[in-house]
Amino acid sequence: MMEILAYAAFFLTVALTYAIMCLGLNVQWGQTGLFNVGIAGFVGLGAYVSAALTTPDAADRIGGFDLPIVVGWLAAMAAGGLLALAVGLLTLRMRSDYLAITTFGIAVALQLVFQNAEILTGGAFGMAFIPRPFAGLQGQAFAFNIVNLALTGLVVAALYLLLEHLLRSPWGRALRAVREDEVAAQALGKNPVLLRIQAFALGGAIMALAGAVQAHFIGFIAPGNYLPMMTFQVWAMLIVGGSGNNRGALLGAVLVWAIWALSGALISEVFPADQQARAASLQIVTIGVMLCVILLWRPQGILPEVRSVSRHLGRRNKDQ
C-alpha cells in the first residue's frame, strides 16, 4: 500500500513539473498566440543551468558551484527568460511562423550543445548528483516523495495564482487584445511587439523553471530527456486541457501524463522486450492523432477559455 502511495506521489510530482511547462506555454500560446516549437530546449536549458550551479565540484567539467537549490531555480528562470527575450527580439516583428521555425532551431541547437559541449554539460552521459530537495529523507521513499510533491505543488500553486492575477490585470487584458485584434489594440495605444516579447520571455522563464524543478527532483539529467518528444507532449497537454485556461493547463498536464504513463506500462506488460521500442512509437502516433483530432473537433479543449476576465465585468458573457 505504502509503495503504491509512494509511486502515486512520484507520478504526481512529475506530472506537476509538466504542469509548470504547460503554464509557461499557456502564457505564450493561450494568452498571446505565440507558437513555440522549442519547449524542450527551454526546459533543458533551465535544467542544465540549475544543475551546473548546484552540483558539487566535478573534475571533468566546468561548473559545480555547490550553490543552494533556490539559486539554481532563479538562475534557470533568468536564463530561460533571456533566451526567450533574444528569440522574441529576433522574430516577433515578422510573421508568426518564423517564431515557430526559430524556436524549432533553438531546440535542435541546444540539443547539440547538451550532447557535445562535454566540458559544460557532461555530454551524452549527462549530469548526476544534482542535489534533491529534502535529500535527508531519501531513504524513506514515501516520505521523500510526499514532501517533494508538496514542494512542487507549492511552486505550481504560486505560479497559478500569479498567472491568474496577471491574466486579470491590465497587462493580461492588453495581451489578449493584441491576440484577438492587433490593429484595434494598436489604435488604443498598446504596443503589440513589446507585449508579445514580454509574454514570450515570461513563458520561457517558467519553462526553464520547470526544467530545473524536474532536474532537482530526479537528481540526474541527460540530453535524451529534452528531445522534441517533450515539446510535443506539453503541446498535447495544453491543447487537451484547454489553451487560454490555466486550470485547463493543469488538468491537461496530469491527464496526458497519466495516459502516457499508463500506456507505457501497458506496452511493457503486453509486448515482448524486443518489440517494446517499436510499440512505444505507437504511443507517439496516438498522441499526434489526438492532437490533430482536438484541433479539428474541439479546438477549445476540455476547459475552454473564460471569455470575460475583468473583475469589473464579472462573468456576464460566460456562456459565449
Binding site: Y98, I101, G105, R278, V285, L295
Partner: protein, 304 residues
C-alpha cells in the same frame, strides 16, 4: 582545407534544395510553415523502397546494377511509384486535416500546429512499420572516380547533381511560363482576388501539393541513396529545409535551390573545420543570420 568538401556540400545541398522547393511552395501558396514536409521525404524514401521490393519480387532482373550506377532499372520504376504514393499521402493529409482547417478559416498558426502533430504521428508510424533500423536501396559499393583538383565523386552522386539541375530548371520554367504557374503566383499574392478572376484555387492547392510532395519524395530517395534510410531522416533534414527556404526567399524556386546548396556547402565545411557533431548547428546559425540581416531572403519580396 580539403576540396572534397566542395563536392560533398554540392551533393547534400542538391537534396536539401529539392526538399526546400516543396516547402517554399506550400509556404507561399498555402501560407503555412509545414512541419510534415520533412516526413514526406522520409515517407517518399520508404514508399519507394517498398515499391522496389515488390517490383524485385515480380521480376528479378530489375535489381541488376546499371553500369556505372549502383542500382538497376527497378529503382527508377520504383521512384515513379514512390512519387505517386507520396503525392497521395500529401493530398490525403490535406483532405482530412489541412483542408478542413483552411475551410473553417483557422489561423495559419493552428494549421502549423496541426502539421506539427501530424509530423510526429507520421514519423513514429514509420518507426513502427519499418523499425528504427536503417535501410538501404542497394548494398552495392561504388568507387568514387577522380574529377580533378583533388575531388572525387561516385556516378550516383553525379547523377543526383545533374538530375537536380534539370528538375529545378523544368520547375522554374513551369512556374514562370505556364498558365498554371501564373495562377500559382496569383494565388500566392492574393487567394481571394485570384479566385474572383476565375482562378480555380482548389486546383492550385492540389498542384502545389503534387509538386511539393513529388520533389520531397525525390529528395528523400536521393538522401536514401547517398546515405541511408531512417525514420528520422526527414526530421533531421527539417531545419536545413526551413533554413534553405527562408534563405532563398519564401516562394522562390531558384532561391530554395540556391539556399539548399549554400546550406549543404556550409554543412560540409563545418564538418571539415569544426567537426561532424556540430553539422546540424550551421542551419540554425544561417537561419538566425538571415532573420537578422535580410528576413525576406535572397530572392524574396518585401513584406513576407
Amino acid at each position: 582545407m580539403n576540396p572534397q568538401a566542395f563536392i560533398d556540400g554540392l551533393i547534400s545541398g542538391s537534396t536539401i534544395g529539392l526538399g526546400a522547393i516543396g516547402l517554399t511552395l506550400t509556404y507561399s501558396i498555402l501560407r503555412f510553415a509545414n512541419f510534415t514536409h520533412g516526413d514526406f521525404l522520409a515517407w517518399g524514401a520508404y514508399l519507394t523502397l517498398t515499391v522496389a521490393g515488390v517490383l524485385g519480387g515480380l521480376a528479378a532482373g530489375l535489381g541488376a546494377p546499371l553500369y556505372p550506377f549502383s542500382f538497376g532499372w527497378g529503382l527508377p520504376l520504383a521512384v515513379m511509384g514512390g512519387v505517386i504514393l507520396t503525392v497521395a499521402l500529401a493530398l490525403g493529409l490535406d483532405r482530412i486535416l489541412f483542408g478542413r482547417l483552411r475551410a473553417r478559416g483557422a489561423d495559419a498558426i493552428i494549421i502549423v500546429m496541426a502539421s506539427f502533430g501530424a509530423s510526429m504521428a507520421l514519423r513514429s508510424l514509420l518507426e513502427f512499420i519499418f523499425t528504427a533500423k536503417p535501410a538501404y536501396f542497394t548494398k552495392a559499393l561504388q568507387i568514387a572516380k577522380p574529377l580533378g583538383l583533388g575531388m572525387r565523386a561516385t556516378p550516383d552522386q553525379l547523377l543526383v547533381i545533374g538530375l537536380t539541375g534539370a528538375l529545378v530548371l523544368a520547375l522554374h520554367l513551369f512556374v514562370t511560363r505556364s498558365d498554371t504557374g501564373r495562377a500559382m503566383r496569383a494565388v500566392s499574392e492574393n487567394p481571394n482576388l485570384a479566385s474572383v478572376f476565375g482562378v480555380d484555387v482548389d486546383k492550385i492547392v492540389r498542384v502545389t501539393w503534387i509538386i511539393g510532395a513529388g520533389m520531397a519524395c525525390l529528395a528523400g530517395v536521393m538522401a536514401g541513396l547517398l546515405v541511408q534510410i531512417r525514420p528520422y531522416m526527414g526530421f533531421d533534414l527539417l531545419l536545413p529545409l526551413f533554413a534553405a527556404a527562408i534563405l532563398g526567399g519564401i516562394g522562390s524556386i531558384p532561391g530554395a535551390m540556391l539556399g539548399g546548396l549554400i546550406i549543404g556547402l556550409a554543412e560540409a565545411f563545418t564538418v571539415q573545420i569544426i567537426g561532424a557533431e556540430w553539422r546540424a548547428a550551421i542551419s540554425f546559425i544561417i537561419l538566425v543570420l538571415v532573420l537578422m540581416l535580410r528576413p525576406q531572403g535572397l530572392f524574396g519580396q518585401r513584406g513576407a
